[in-house]
């Protein structure tokens, strides 16, 4: 099965962005339907749908909701629109093309989990989508879809937009909560988990944009109906952000379980003429890279990616062909994690910097004979040792790049130049020398 328009059915219509156009295409009917259901019924449908979090971790959404305490304690629903995993841009597309779809999904979800207040946390750079969302929120408020006694149901849900200001770590749910509370976006210790003690120490659910939007379809088609796409363990469709060395990069919705190579060759128009596939990062920069060989039988679902030692992550696919030097590509990734480590936990704070210095040392012809093994050792000891997963996210690409393209690293260290002809070398930058910050 190839590309489907399930969540993105109406994305091609410019009017879908506004309230009138959204309603003309069936918008907010599912909110009406949901408000007539019991909250537990909605949760049950979401559980039955098998929907898994679309932000990266792939945790079952219904199960996450089930962790909330079963009492009347005030609680919050937060939408994670901090999309900042390198390679990912599908949430931006969704918010730009269908802001009301997200709002509808959020109000339904807030009702289901019993939250009277919901926030969309959007990254500060997304000023375009933020403006669109603010307008949509105002429209929805005016039309009575947000606020007190929604559509006469007696249900109250307030919705507001919160702006980040440039920090990858705020995509981690407890980092997001710290940021929303007005502090540095540093992840919090778990336990307590957010569902028990989150925003302002109240029970909190954090869901990705795409996850919340999918709730609208689940209400429409029912939990079982949602499963018409996808596989047993990876139900439904997913929006993938495809970028890199392909003819037609962009956002595509395909059913989970779709063949990676079909996706690249059909939807994305294949590689550039004369190029050969070298590897694919399947789930954002932190997902271990798949070698060209591993790509051949890869399918886009949680279980196949896990079997291949990688992950579906946020659904950000980055295609790399044989014109790129893997050492150079890794250097932009290590630079990213060094720049974005919040600095709380020692293994991450120090490890990201150490790794970055070694990789850039190699790129600048200063590689040392033991560097490859040292990189593996450092990365190995950054895994599973910290409060949040950023340290793991920084370690995994190092481990996979160095293991799968070891000869490129060895060559660079020995010859002091890239194995790939024409690779340009850029000045090594300290994160504090990157500009005006």
């Amino acid at each position: 099965m190839a590309e489907v328009k399930y969540l993105s059915e109406h994305y091609h219509k410019p009017e879908y962005r506004g309230l009138a156009g959204y309603k003309a295409n069936g918008g907010y009917a599912m909110l009406e339907k949901a408000l007539k259901m019991q909250p537990q019924q909605i949760i049950d449908e979401v559980k039955a749908s098998g929907l898994r979090g679309r932000g990266g971790a792939g945790f079952p959404t219904g199960m996450k909701w089930g962790f909330l305490p079963k009492n009347g304690e005030p609680r919050y629903l937060l939408c994670n629109a901090d999309e900042s995993e390198p390679g990912t841009f599908k949430d931006r597309v969704m918010m730009e093309k269908a802001p009301h779809q997200l709002i509808e999904g959020m109000i339904i979800s807030a009702y289901a989990v019993g939250a009277k207040k919901a926030y969309i946390y959007i990254r500060g750079e997304y000023m375009g989508p933020a403006a669109i969302l603010e307008e949509a929120i105002a429209e929805a408020k005016k039309a009575g879809y947000i606020g007190k006694n929604i559509l006469g149901s007696g249900v109250d849900v307030e919705l507001d937009l919160y702006l980040g200001a440039g920090a990858y770590i705020c995509g981690e749910e407890t980092g997001l909560i710290s940021s929303l509370e007005g502090f540095k976006g540093q992840p919090k210790l778990k336990p307590p988990f957010p569902a028990v003690q989150g925003y302002l120490k109240k029970p909190t659910i954090v869901n990705n944009v795409e996850t919340l939007a999918a709730v609208v379809n689940i209400i429409r088609d029912g939990g079982q109906g949602y499963r018409k796409y996808g596989t047993e363990k990876s139900a439904g469709t997913k929006l993938f952000s495809l970028s890199g060395a392909v003819q037609k990069p962009g956002t595509y919705e395909v059913p989970l379980g779709y063949k990676l190579m079909d996706f690249i060759n059909n939807e994305c128009g294949g590689l550039l003429p004369g190029r050969k596939l070298k590897g694919v990062i399947p789930g954002g920069s932190s997902a271990p890279i798949l070698s060209a060989e591993e790509c051949m039988d890869a399918t886009l679902d949680y279980e196949n990616m896990a079997a291949k030692g990688s992950m579906l992550g946020s659904g950000a696919i980055i295609v790399i062909d044989d014109s790129y030097c893997m050492v150079d590509v890794l250097s932009t990734i290590t630079h990213f994690y060094h720049h974005e480590s919040c600095g709380q936990c020692t293994p991450c704070r120090e490890g990201t910097g150490w790794v970055q210095k070694i990789v850039h040392g190699i790129v600048h012809g200063n590689g040392k004979p033991g560097d490859v093994d040292l990189l593996l050792k450092i990365a190995d000891n950054m895994k599973g040792r910290t409060i949040c997963a950023l340290s793991d996210a920084a370690a995994l690409p190092v481990l996979s790049f160095v293991t799968k393209y070891r000869e490129e690293f060895e060559y660079f260290i020995k010859e002091k130049k890239s194995k790939v002809k024409g690779t340009q070398i850029y000045a090594q930058l300290n994160p504090s020398e990157m500009g005006a910050h």
């Binding site: 920090a167 540095k184 210790l189 336990p191 060094h338 720049h339 974005e340 480590s341 919040c342 600095g343 709380q344 936990c345 020692t346 293994p347 704070r349 120090e350 490890g351 990201t352 910097g353 150490w354 210095k357 070694i358 040392g361 040392k368 033991g370 040292l374 050792k377 000891n381 599973g384 040792r385 910290t386 409060i387 994160p431 504090s432």
Partner: protein
């Protein structure tokens, strides 16, 4: 790790949990974290950011333990003990994680131990010796950060040494609640600091130096003065106010160098004030009266204190109500007992007056530890005065001096002259008496310049004698003699004995414990040292 030595029984007994630490079965209260269990049972575990007086940060990632049934290592500080839990931090897996954790701490830490003030009491040194991997593999350039940053009047920061454990920031957020410190920037560029124009300037700032596990925060007063391994430690009590914080004083043969707090759950927790830490300066020789001074007929001479006390006693014996005693709240119960009963029974006077140094702020409290009563033992003094039936009012002293009814005034003056703002005025007032006997530890130019019939007798300070202080809440705390700074100085107990004409025991028993002289009304002796 400091432990409470006087745990009060809680209203309801908490449930006890059984657990196994490194193969040893122990019991802990429900709600205890694994690291607390380690510390309660004296088992060693690597850690930097955890501090029992602060919230859990969980950022140094060193207190890794292996919990049976959990494939991932967990941090002991943020994991609660459950019944039947089996933990260990001795497996190869844990040791390896800790080794790497230490290496991550060290890759950007300067190896300037030879010039670092923390050397000898450095967490990084100690833990690396215990758990480190000894084969550093970091060959890259270290991150450059700010050095010698003036954080405030008492504290200096070396950012490169900082391991970002956040203890100091948590202290200013949670304990002093003054919020001066922050961690600015992120990743390995993050640095501790203050906002310009808002220095670390509160009366608790030096606690940040104490809890800094490395040499990042150092005390301006102490830095570069002594290598810590040349100093001896002695447990004591802060005499800076009526709270009675438990302390450790650090000294060598030259005198005291610094004071640090010692944990006492009921009195000061883990902390003490900055002003209390200055209570070593008046102990040292340069501030002390070294011998007795006797002035008569306009001629002054320095004589042995014992002789001076004996002579003064001869004149006081049976002198009755022409003698007045002025006494401050700076001395020990045992001294008050000796002094006051001597004046009542042998001198025969009830003209005994309590000198309150700062009546306006006497009852104030900063909400944390510092009290307006800048005396360690006002409570003990008042109790002894009541016991002896002394009720004289200060006004009667002024009248007696005016009318000449009071001829001789004996003063047990301030040990810590800095907290007596009215000292100058009192000297002027009391020197109106035809004979003045002034007992005090510190030197004072005004006293030494007096020309009438004056005797100055040097006293010992709180680290040079044994006895009991009773704090504002009625908690009696005993301190022991730790060192001698001025060999000729006397305690009030010794002064009284000499005044009575007794000989001082050669074995210094008056300053030893178990003399049988230490008895007081405060049966609840807590925080005994």
């Amino acid at each position: 790790m400091p432990e409470s030595n006087n745990t009060a029984a809680p209203a309801t007994e908490p449930k006890m949990l059984k657990m196994t630490i490194n193969g040893k079965e122990v019991e802990v209260k429900e709600g205890t974290s694994i690291i607390e269990a380690y510390s309660q049972h004296g088992m060693s575990i690597a850690h930097y950011c955890w501090h029992p007086g602060l919230s859990v940060a969980g950022v140094c990632r060193l207190c890794m333990v292996e919990i049976e049934g959990n494939p991932r290592l967990q941090i002991a500080c943020n994991t609660a003990v459950t019944d039947g839990m089996k933990v260990n931090n001795e497996s190869e897996k844990v040791k390896d994680a800790v080794k790497w954790g230490l290496d991550f701490h060290l890759i950007n830490h300067p190896l300037d131990c030879p010039i670092c003030d923390q050397a000898g009491e450095c967490g990084l040194q100690d833990q690396y010796m215990a758990y480190g991997k000894y084969t550093p593999e970091m060959a890259e350039k270290k991150v450059k950060k700010h050095k010698v940053v003036d954080l405030g009047p008492r504290v200096v920061l070396d950012s490169e040494r900082c391991i970002l454990c956040s203890r100091c920031v948590r202290f200013t957020d949670e304990v002093s609640k003054t919020n001066e410190l922050g961690i600015f920037n992120r990743g390995d560029r993050a640095e501790i600091g203050t906002f310009e124009g808002k220095p670390l300037d509160n009366n608790y700032s030096l606690n940040t130096v104490d809890i800094c596990p490395v040499g990042a925060l150092t005390s301006k007063d102490f830095r570069f003065r002594q290598r810590v391994w040349f100093l001896k430690e002695h447990n004591s009590i802060c005499t800076g106010c009526s709270t009675g914080c438990n302390t450790r004083v650090f000294y060598n043969k030259e005198g005291l160098f610094r004071i640090k707090p010692r944990y006492n759950k009921d009195i000061n927790g883990y902390w003490m004030t900055d002003t209390g830490r200055d209570a070593y300066k008046f102990v040292n020789k340069e501030a002390r009266l070294l011998d007795a001074r006797v002035v008569s007929n306009g001629r002054g001479e320095w004589i042995a204190p014992k002789l001076a006390a004996r002579k003064a006693g001869e004149a006081l014996k049976g002198a009755g109500k022409s003698v007045a005693l002025v006494v401050t709240g700076q001395y020990m119960n045992e001294e008050y007992e000796a002094l006051l009963s001597y004046f009542k029974n042998e001198v025969g006077t009830d003209r005994v007056f309590h000198w309150i140094n700062n009546p306006e702020t006497f009852d104030s409290f900063d909400g944390l530890l510092a009290r307006g009563d800048k005396n360690p033992n006002t409570k003990g003094l008042l109790a002894e005065m009541a016991k002896q039936g002394f009720t004289a009012q200060w006004r009667e002293l002024a009248e007696g001096l005016q009318t000449g009814a009071i001829k001789t005034v004996v003063v047990a003056g301030p040990e810590n002259q800095a907290v007596f703002p009215d000292l100058k005025a009192k000297i002027m007032e009391l020197s109106k008496a035809s004979k003045l006997v002034w007992l005090q530890a510190g030197k004072n130019d005004q006293l030494e310049a007096l020309t009438g019939d004056v005797t100055l007798i040097p006293l010992k300070t709180y680290v040079e004698k044994t006895g009991t202080y009773v704090n504002y809440a009625g908690i009696a705390q005993k301190v022991h003699k730790g060192l001698t700074v001025v060999p000729n100085a006397l305690s009030l107990v010794e002064v009284v004995a000499l005044m009575k004409g007794e000989e001082l025991p050669a074995d210094d028993t008056y300053n030893q414990v178990g003399l049988g002289r230490v008895h007081n009304e405060f049966t609840m002796v807590r925080g005994t040292l």
